[in-house]
Subunit: 219 residues, 2 copies
DNA sequence: ATATGCTTTTAGATATATCTAAATATTTAT
DNA sequence: ATAAATATTTAGATATATCTAAAAGCATAT
């Protein structure tokens, strides 16, 4: 039905849209997808013709209902496969995103749903991201970015925004994992670095790390 | 490393080669791959440049060692995924080939080997075809085509050559499955149809059916 | 309100994988 | 041995997805 390239555009438009909450612009999408703005423009025209995105020259792009349905299906497959890789094949959380980038494009509704059932309908992937159900519904996730908390707040690490090997290996090295209790000891105005306390350690995280950590149940 | 198109050519050259036991010709490959002879010629040139096939104009094609290694990896993945789909996701044997056509192109050696281990290193796929191990070794399978047996011979259905939905649904309807005992009651010279007896039924199979059935342990 | 710079689009090129139609080589039959 | 039939390749076209370089639109700062 849709090519891998098209599916990747839809997926990335979806995820940028949920970050910026307004129509996504060409350069941002190009950066995110590691391609050139001119390539993005070409593809957006094509997706617009297929009624998958709303796109007007120079005005940015957003998904149509039809486009969002496709995006959510790809995201559902991506996260289900990641869960499979960790739970059944014993991969670590830093190894699975790359492989799931391929598996997310396998076309078979029945495969997706049978996999879901085999895994007992998991609600979250190994990075804490919610898995859309077969109707495209996602549990709302009110986790808050570590950067937006205040000194003294306490929370449980709920999810990571960056699923790259390099970021997750950094967390591994620092012994930080999903579910960890994190307390904010201090925030440095100058560089937005954050001094935190976990159950076992004290450490200072840079802004670039903190912006990818999302917490829940804080107070 | 290699595109899906290239992998599909290598796989099909491999399987035709093991059928005809001489270099594979353009038209045969075109028919098998549902494409045109001119497309085949184009691709063979490309594969020859990459040293994956030996190809001389008008002389047919065969795999180089390098090409055979790739082909066996694709076949290994295809059959492991088929086994997974049947054993873990409870698909029927007629449903899995199509999905495996996609899964066979996922690129990750570790995924293939972890899947193999998760499945406890199966030796045969749901159609009775041998699964190459991680070194590309295949258990030799001396099953014999039903067409090549004689009246009075007795055997166990070992594998099917055609894994298409339509053929396997035909076998389902006739209540024929791998492992069934089959005895040859009569062979009709005129149209090569074969009268067989299973544990429960008598039936007549056409030549087109019989040529896709392979038996073992006959006498 | 206009010039400057940033963003976006267009024009034209490249690479892959296909196709149809025409040309050429090989095989087979007379 | 030649002609006819068949198989294969070439030439030229199409579709997708990308790129670079140049042109055009938009935002904003003086
Ligand atoms: Mn991921
Ligand atoms: Mn992808
Ligand atoms: Mn198969
Ligand atoms: Mn394939």
């Amino acid at each position: 039905m849709f090519s891998q390239a098209e599916e990747n555009y839809l997926k990335n438009i979806y995820s940028l849209h949920s970050e910026v909450n307004k129509s996504v612009n060409t350069n941002l999408l190009a950066t995110k997808m590691n391609t050139k703005p001119s390539s993005v423009t070409d593809m957006l025209k094509k997706l617009a013709v297929k009624d998958l995105v709303d796109y007007k020259k120079y005005q940015g792009v957003s998904l149509t209902d039809k486009g969002e349905i496709i995006a959510l299906k790809v995201i559902r497959k991506h996260r289900l496969w990641e869960y499979f890789l960790v739970e059944k094949l014993h991969y670590n959380w830093e190894e699975v995103h790359e492989i799931a980038e391929q598996l997310e494009h396998i076309k078979s509704e029945s495969l997706t749903n049978n996999l879901d059932s085999f895994l007992h309908f998991p609600k979250f992937d190994p990075h804490g991201d919610p898995i859309p159900d077969k109707n495209g519904r996602i549990p709302i996730n009110n986790a808050i970015c570590l950067l937006d908390l205040k000194v003294g707040n306490l929370g449980i690490l709920n999810s990571v925004k960056d699923s790259s090997k390099s970021f997750l290996n950094y967390l591994n090295k620092k012994n930080i994992a999903l579910g960890d209790r994190i307390k904010i000891i201090d925030m440095e105005e100058f560089d937005n670095s954050i001094h935190i306390e976990t159950r076992t350690h004290h450490m200072v995280l840079s802004k670039d790390v903190a912006k990818n950590l999302y917490l829940k149940h804080f107070k």
